[in-house]
């Protein structure tokens, strides 16, 4: 069983966390901190296994991690998982993330999963992860199958218009202007005056 999947950057900032056992939020953060503390002080040329000890679950559990550029991918697993298998899985997931999140950057080497990709698309990465690991157990390892399923679901989302439909995207430029105070309630009568430009990009 996989007990937790943690992805954080070189400064310990969480980029994606997935616990398959319940921990309260503050406990989760503590686990992330401690894991980061353990993992970050290790050289890159040492082995990728770490006895987690009291961190999660006890002595049966160990941490298996990979370090790519600015990101750490950490799996906390028990003895029923193959250590080398999990290492392969982490590599696989990195690959999916780069393939599925940014189809246009397929040429990117998977070793260079960009941290920004993860930050802005945490939800999408979650959806990919869900196709690989479910409830702490490895669901699918066939690359083509996973990519196909993720693609189909994304297409379904697109056909529904997606979460951020056109108008919202249009004004994101406005939002990024760092206005001191955005008026929350717009007077309907003044609609043409107050909203600067509604035309799409």
């Amino acid at each position: 069983m996989i007990k937790a999947i943690l992805i954080f950057n070189n400064h310990g900032k969480p980029r994606l966390i997935r616990f398959y056992q319940y921990f309260a939020e503050d406990m989760q953060q503590q686990i992330i901190r401690e894991t980061f503390h353990l993992v970050s002080k290790r050289d890159d040329n040492v082995c990728n296994f770490l006895e987690g000890g009291s961190l999660i679950g006890g002595s049966d559990y160990k941490l298996i991690y990979r370090h790519y550029a600015t990101l750490y991918f950490v799996f906390c697993v028990d003895s029923s998982e193959s250590e080398l298998g999990i290492l392969d899985l982490i590599q696989l997931i990195c690959f999916f993330v780069s393939v599925c999140v940014f189809v246009e950057t397929l040429d990117k080497c998977f070793e260079n999963v960009c941290e920004l990709d993860l930050i802005f698309h945490m939800d999408k990465v979650h959806y990919i992860l869900q196709e690989v690991v479910m409830g702490g157990m490895v669901l699918e390892t066939n690359m083509n199958e996973i990519v196909a399923q993720v693609e189909l679901q994304n297409r379904m989302e697109k056909s529904e218009g997606g979460l951020s439909a056109a108008p919202a995207r249009a004004v994101s430029a406005v939002k990024n202007m760092n206005l001191p105070e955005i008026p929350r309630n717009i007077n309907i009568g003044d609609i043409n005056i107050k909203v600067p430009s509604l035309s799409p990009f």
Binding site: V46, C47, E83, G85, D123, M137, E160, N178, I188
Partner: protein, 1236 residues
Amino acid sequence: MALKIVKGSIDRMFDKNLQDLVRGIRNHKEDEAKYISTCIDEIKQELKQDNIAVKANAVCKLTYLQMLGYDVSWAAFNIVEVMSSSKFTYKRIGYLAASQCFHEGTDVIMLTTNQIRKDLSSPHQYDTGVALTGLSCFVTPDLARDLANDIMTLMSHTKPYIRKKAVLIMYKVFLKYPESLRPAFPRLKEKLEDPDPGVQSAAVNVICELARRNPKNYLSLAPLFFKLMTSSTNNWVLIKIIKLFGALTPLEPRLGKKMIEPLTNLIHSTSAMSLLYECVNTVIAVLISLSSGMPNHSASIQLCVQKLRILIEDSDQNLKYLGLLAMSKILKTHPKSVQSHKDLILQCLDDKDESIRLRALDLLYGMVSKKNLMEIVKKLMLHVDKAEGTTYRDELLTKIIDICSQSNYQYITNFEWYISILVELTRLEGTRHGHLIASQMLDVAIRVKAIRGFAVAQMATLLDNAHLLTGNTQHNGICEVLYAAAWICGEFSEHLEDPMQTLEAMLRPKVATLPGHIQAVYVQNAAKLFATVLRKHEGETDSHAVQETSQLLIDRLPLFVQSANLEVQERASCILQLVKYIQKLQQKKVEVAEEVTALFAGELNPVAPKAQKKVPVPEGLDLDAWINKPPSESESEDEKPKAVFAKEEPKHSRSRHTEVDEKELAKRREARKQEQANNPFYIKASPSSQKVYDAPGVEHIPVVQIDLSVPLKVPGMPMSDQYLKLEEERRQKEKAERKKKEKKKKREKRGKERKADSGPESEEDITPAHQVDIVTEEMPENALPSDDDDKDPNDPHKALDIDLDKPLADSEKLPVRTHRPEVLKSPAEDRVNESIPQETKKRSSKEKKEKKKGKEKDRKRSKEEKKKKKHKEVEEELLESHPEEAVQSEETKEAATPPTSAEEETTPLSAAAADMSSAAAPESEPDEPKDAEPEDTKSSKHKKKKQKKEKEEKEKKKKKRHHHHHHHHHHHSDAGGDDSVQNGTVEEEEPLPPMSNYSLLAENSYIKMMKEDADQVYDIQGNHQDESKVVVSVIFENKSDSFLKSMEFNVLDSLNSKLQRPEGAGAHDSLTVPFQLPPGISNEARFVFSVQSIVMPQKLKGTLTFIVKSDESSTHEKLDFKLHFTCTSYLITTPCYSDAYAKLLESGDLKGSSLRLERIKMPFHHLLARICFHHHFSVVERIDSCASMYSRSIQGHHVCLLVKTSDQTVSIDAKCDEPSLLGNVLDEIKQTFSKC
């Protein structure tokens, strides 16, 4: 309206989406928390809007914030809303959020049952997939129970995508709801051979996970797995299966033999390191499990070790690590094959990777022998010196101690060396294992008697140089060793060369900076040293030294008397006074040494850590039994403190304790021994272990002569090396001697075969440097051996230890989805299952019924379609006899039709809400007959109250349901597919007045009898053709100040009704009430009556006799009473379907009657509740001011009521197949309402 929509979408443009939030957080690095709190406020605003897209966006952002550690549980309900959206985009967001932050404690989870069920059966595979994924993260026991059957159905879904998810989630379901394992297992097994590799892999995954915890139940699957192993090409599956075999082989050695060949083949053929590694691992497991008689054994071991060596020598650190890990497994059973690779492992100790070093350390643990212990420890000590970073150094420290102390110091040949190692370890700065070192010092000094002299000398040096250690005074720091040092010096002070000097060292002012518990030991042991000094100098004419010592103590102890630590203070002031007194005596030239020494006389023996736990409980002693009477509930709180401060009792018990004289004790001991001798299961203490402490004394053990060539006085100098050299020299010498001897022998016995193991290098030849006697730890004299000390009773996997090969019993069906959690059943069916068990209490019988329900489900559906039509018929049927009411009822019919049809298509949330309220009060339906178990007497009173409350809730719920239905219709008409939900709009209703069904039976100055309106009725018609049993609960309350006892209850039987008496009792004998009543206490007793005819009410005369016992006297008293059996009490609350109800009325077997009640001021629902409560009816249907009700007698008479109200007038039309019963029931109803 249109304007509103436009406004909504414009508002939305300024809502941040996830990307904006992330960007914002990145732009506000310096005041992140503040920024996020404004974002959370915005999110709260967004969640208040009706637009589901806005909500979904907000929930998506919350998921991100949750990752950053913000508690978002407050939005749980909004997450459920988003989950129940019909759009996949939103649903997915909802489920993601739920899977991140829902857990068993989340209360809204029970709202989701129906939604999840709906999604599971959705035609879109991704809706189902998303629901399964989400559920896998937050499944609770309730969800597991309710959805197990749905998920099981999905295991045979046409789409492999769903199948594999359903299979995988079953593991979670099993964990939460172990009852589902057996019914689901056959299908799970089927999936092992699923055509889709993904599904197959999932099934293997689940079974492996199950088998890992309880392997013996899965042995029968071995052939199937064996087939899979030889046919599968998927490495993931292979790894899982091979791991599974690793778990199975210890249980079945024959399996292991079969495994070796294919595994060896795989090892040779595979190119995947992960697979190779797992194969090696399993081969090791197989070899461990096999007895060593296998001929080709060593070949396999050699293969494994050889492959592992390749791994360890690989440049890939991961392989190195795993190689060492697997090596340590071989080590346990085949240490010889590993020991030959000692060089490699010692090399790994120098690796730059800490994990690898730790693994190598683990291996060392198993590789030590008497021969190489010193050498290995020396190497480790070097590492300790080099190690940077305290964690690894501490690890080394514990390992050194572990290695040396393992199996009772088995490998230590020279304890002086070990003590020196421990002393050297104290030089470690900043270690957290001071305590560990200290406990080792104590342990060795106590248990190895021969070493005490040496240990004391070393400890004295430590104390003298304590300033070197006190740099770190934090808890568990190295200063802890001073605790041990002080104690050893004090306890074994007879070995001290110069106790005076040590005493001086222990009383230095610097000591006051040590932690309190260490100071306390210092003070106490200073006193011991003082006693030693006294004894040493007693009899000397010059008592100067003694006086000096007393003066030293008197001078220094006041420092400790001022200590803030209570323990130190107490001990110091005690000893200070003692010394002052002794000083006085000394001045009078009185010899006190002997008496002072007597204070500390006696040997302390080591006690095993588990000794206390192992003391067997003597026969006849129940540790859980109350010693005094348990405090009764009626006792008021403020009485308690009195008892607490009562000083009499403890004194009393103590004095009684001492009364048990020696003789008595001896007698008891004798009896116990006798008993043990007769008990075949009692394991007697082996004579050998006894010998250890029964040995005549310390004298016969040769005390080690300290070799003064070893510099003792230099603290902290590494001197263990000296021992190593000495040891080598000694061994050389011994070897030489032995060779000489052997030569001699050889010369003498030439021609005789030389023993194979008599080589000079073998273990046995290494004799310990000193003859040591390692005292074993003491155990209680009749300790029971037990190995289950370490098992975790809370392991969830324990519940899954289920035999899977037994054929499925009928009762083991998964709960099938039902229309409502509490299903109303038609009376016809109900007669078959005479009593409806409470769902939570008797699940097994419920499951039996589920089957029936399942079959009926289809029938029901078609029935429900007709329901609407039928309903009309019901009313018309009832109305026929009262045409004057028809007009009024016609109006209600209009309102009545929508709700009935709406029942079928409730909105997800209203259904969920109904679900929740029923889940919160599973026993709330009045339709359930109350639990008739007589042993529930204590709780029954409480239960009654609960039921009352629940009844109120139920009424509310009914209203609520109606309310929702109306809303739902509204939505359907104008909102189309929009799934926005209504929440929190429940009308406040005035609560029902409290109702009690206890009536006064009889009362006098001593006692009050309350009879419960006999609703504890059950029917055993099956056994007795025309006889029914009625249980009457009577509460007896003692009103007097005296003790009431020997209560006897008797009733004069009539022809129709008889009190059930125990077999053998005469027809007029009385029944003893099974309790006594202290003053002011009440208790409840139940009496069973057999009744023949139930159509008429009955009255029985009875008497209660009892003895009133007061301080002075006891008197016989009696109380007459009349037991009134109403016809109502023969009715059982029985649920009924409206269609069955209609049929019943149609049948024409029933005869009608009616009743009119005037000036009833209570609201209609109160009226119904009263009828339900007091007369055991259930509401079949209620439409505004008109309701149909049903009940059934214990002999199967149907009673139907139609209750209508208008303007304080209530008319009840009733039908029953027994007119006299009906008449009496109606009279009783009338009486009930005339009372209020």
